[in-house]
């Protein structure tokens, strides 16, 4: 008997009898606020993410400041901002290791958790979400959903091969609980509200 068959046989032999119905999961979204931005921003900031607001009418002012302070490659995969390096057909995931700043658009945001959702289609190369030192994220404020129940109703989880919630930058508190932002992935995550 193959291991697969043995496992299924053991499950059928051992699984408890009885009535264990599959519950219907409510959306728990009876009273969402009209404007979901304040909650999104608050939770994003709590999780270590930043809201990058326009200065002097320039939505990319913070990005440009960061570029000035941290010279290095900028890889943008959004039409709204021009980076100084681009993806080639033969670019490998590890090739993004020397990117200083990545710019990418989120599919949607989640107010409950301050998360933004990326997919393989939006990232182009998945490591764009992790190997750069800093990430700038364009998010259409009209595309913020109230909670995770609503989030999992989005089509992104049924299309493509990869979807991910980023909630602030990478972090660890593995040594004595001291919180460090910028563990293995990006050191900062900055959200720019921009319809798209």
């Amino acid at each position: 008997m193959s291991s697969r068959d043995a496992i299924f046989e053991a499950i059928r032999r051992n699984r408890p009898a009885g009535d264990f119905p599959h519950p219907v999961v409510p959306l728990f979204d009876d009273a969402p606020p009209q404007d979901l931005r304040p909650q999104f921003i608050q939770t994003l900031q709590r999780m270590g993410g930043k809201l990058s607001e326009p200065r002097n009418g320039d939505p990319f002012a913070d990005l440009k400041d960061m570029q000035a302070q941290n010279p290095g490659k900028i890889l943008s995969v959004v039409p709204e901002f021009q980076g100084d390096t681009s993806l080639e057909d033969n670019t490998l995931p590890a090739d993004l290791a020397d990117v200083e700043i990545g710019v990418v658009r989120a599919a949607f945001g989640v107010a409950e958790t301050g998360s933004v959702c990326f997919t393989d289609r939006l990232l182009k190369i998945n490591t764009l979400g992790y190997l750069p030192q800093h990430l700038f994220v364009l998010l259409d404020p009209a595309k913020i959903v109230f909670n995770l129940h609503n989030a999992y109703k989005q089509p992104e989880f049924r299309e493509g091969h990869y979807a991910v919630f980023h909630t602030g930058p990478s972090a660890t508190a593995d040594i004595e609980g001291v919180l460090i932002r910028g563990a293995q992935g990006v050191r900062s995550l900055n959200v720019i509200f921009m319809p798209g």
Partner: protein, 484 residues
């Protein structure tokens, strides 16, 4: 970066002494942990802090109790229809181009992975944290076969470099002080032994691990949830290391226990909403990643592992322990765990969940573990999937008694205390009235070498108050909302 040394020199207490199949003496190792006051104090405070953060999160979610009930119901439904959902998961994963393998135990898991690696000529594997691979003694097995395995989670990496098991399912090195980490890193990574600044240590790990990630032939992750309806593997992490492991090398291998499957996408938010809130008191992990298929030019494999799970499914009193989502909340709240450290259990799983899982692997070796509990029921109260942990601990005591696996001292103890200590209900109901019951227990039960809880600071005060009363008094200064 300023150089900082905490100046702390207390040596790290090591875990339980493992002697083959000999019963692990948890209380002996716990005693050594308690004899290291700086370690014990930090450990206790850190975990209690996590517990309090969890409570704060719980209070801002009005539907918290509904979510717990839903999570429990979904898991019970899935486990009682496990064949059906595993088949559905397998079918959908395959449709998406994922290779699916089945392993009846840890050894078979390891040889399947080795086979995949060999086929790709892969020698260097990076991986994120997975308790299942700990069950399988995976790293050891790979080392014997010339595969280098690098743990990428900071806590797990510290433990790997120090040759220790993880002491906690969520925070693997929580029992170590920064000075311990500085020593481990200086010996293994060549960092400054006198600098135990946490920023410095974390940055050193980032910088030394990154080249290994970029250079790896294959990446391995665990799996927190697997959605049958879509064939999706969900991984929750904070450091970004699982996504680096999965997305950087051309080959991604997922190790997953067969109990991780859930039916639908609609079920997923119930668990994602509670996992990190229960574990760390944060609304969600920094990364919640959904893998539905290999990426362009890559290959993805899933190894589904039984390793005792189907046997557990058939245990009338213990099958619901398979609902566990490994959040660690029961450990953080457990007074025994907080004071004795996870390595004192000498088993893959420590703390309350360990007490009910470990004996399913080996009744003899882990026969002492179900006694490492005050039966205060706090674990059951915080468990997001509503496992009746403390009742199962009591049931394990009875089960061990019935198969002759009750150690002598514990036999005497159980006889002395009668059913009171074996039944959490009686224990909790009886003790507040009956300080006298406790006072009339034989002296050796309180001060016996095997009874760590008599040797610790607390029990000498106990004759006139229960542990609960003592605990409430000693914790009076700290806010807490859920009964301990």
């Amino acid at each position: 970066m300023t150089e900082k040394a905490s100046g702390i020199t207390e040596p790290q207490p090591r875990g339980a002494v493992i002697r083959g199949n000999h019963p692990v003496d948890q209380s002996e190792a716990a005693g050594r942990f308690m004899a290291a006051p700086i370690h014990q104090k930090m450990h206790d405070a850190r975990l209690w802090d996590l517990r309090q953060k969890r409570d704060a999160e719980m209070h801002i979610i009005p539907e918290w109790e509904d979510l717990r009930q839903l999570a429990s119901d979904i898991k019970q439904h899935t486990l009682t229809h496990l064949d059906q959902y595993l088949e559905q998961f397998e079918t959908n994963a395959k449709v998406n181009g994922i290779h699916v393998h089945w392993a009846k135990d840890g050894q078979e898991h390891n040889s399947i992975v080795l086979e995949i690696l060999k086929k790709h000529g892969a020698k260097k594997l990076i991986k994120s944290k997975s308790m299942l691979t700990e069950e399988c003694d995976f790293r050891h097995s790979m080392a014997e076969n010339g595969i280098s395995v690098i743990e990428t989670d900071l806590g797990e990496r510290i433990q790997q470099l120090d040759g220790e098991m993880p002491s906690h399912v969520v925070v693997p090195a929580v029992h170590k002080l920064r000075s311990d980490v500085a020593q481990v890193f200086s010996k293994t990574l060549g960092t400054d032994p006198d600098n135990d600044d946490v920023h410095y240590l974390t940055e050193q790990q980032r910088e030394t691990t990154r080249p290994l990630i970029l250079d790896a032939d294959a990446g391995m992750t665990g799996c927190n949830f697997a959605v049958a309806e879509t064939g999706t593997v969900v991984v929750c992490t904070n450091e970004g290391n699982a996504d680096l492991s999965a997305n950087t090398p051309p080959l991604h291998i997922v190790s997953m226990g067969i109990e991780k499957v859930i039916p639908r996408l609609d079920d997923l938010p119930v668990f994602v909403r509670m996992l990190s809130r229960s574990a760390l008191g944060s609304p969600i992990t920094q990364y919640t990643s959904h893998f539905r298929g290999p990426r362009k030019g890559g290959e993805m494999h899933i190894v589904l592992v039984d390793n005792g799970r189907t046997t557990r499914l058939g245990m009338e009193k213990f099958w619901t322990s398979l609902k566990c989502i490994r959040c660690g909340a029961c450990m953080n709240t457990c007074p025994v765990f907080r004071r004795s450290g996870g390595l004192s259990y000498g088993a893959t799983y420590a703390g309350p969940i360990g007490l009910i899982l470990d004996p399913t692997f080996n009744k003899h070796k882990y026969r002492n573990l179900p006694f490492a509990s005050t039966m205060n029921g706090s674990c059951t109260n915080v468990c997001p999937v509503k496992i009746n942990i403390h009742e199962q601990i009591a049931d394990w005591r009875k089960e061990l008694a019935s198969v002759g696996e009750i150690p002598f001292a514990k036999k005497a103890m159980m006889k002395a205390a009668g059913e009171i200590l074996a039944s959490p209900k009686l224990y909790r109901a009886g003790l507040p009235l009956a300080n006298s019951t406790l006072r009339h227990l034989p002296r050796f039960m309180l001060y016996n070498r095997l009874n760590t809880w008599g040797r610790g600071r607390e029990m000498p005060h106990a004759p006139r108050e229960t542990f609960h009363q003592w605990y409430a008094r000693n914790r009076a200064g700290k806010k807490k909302d859920v009964s301990e």
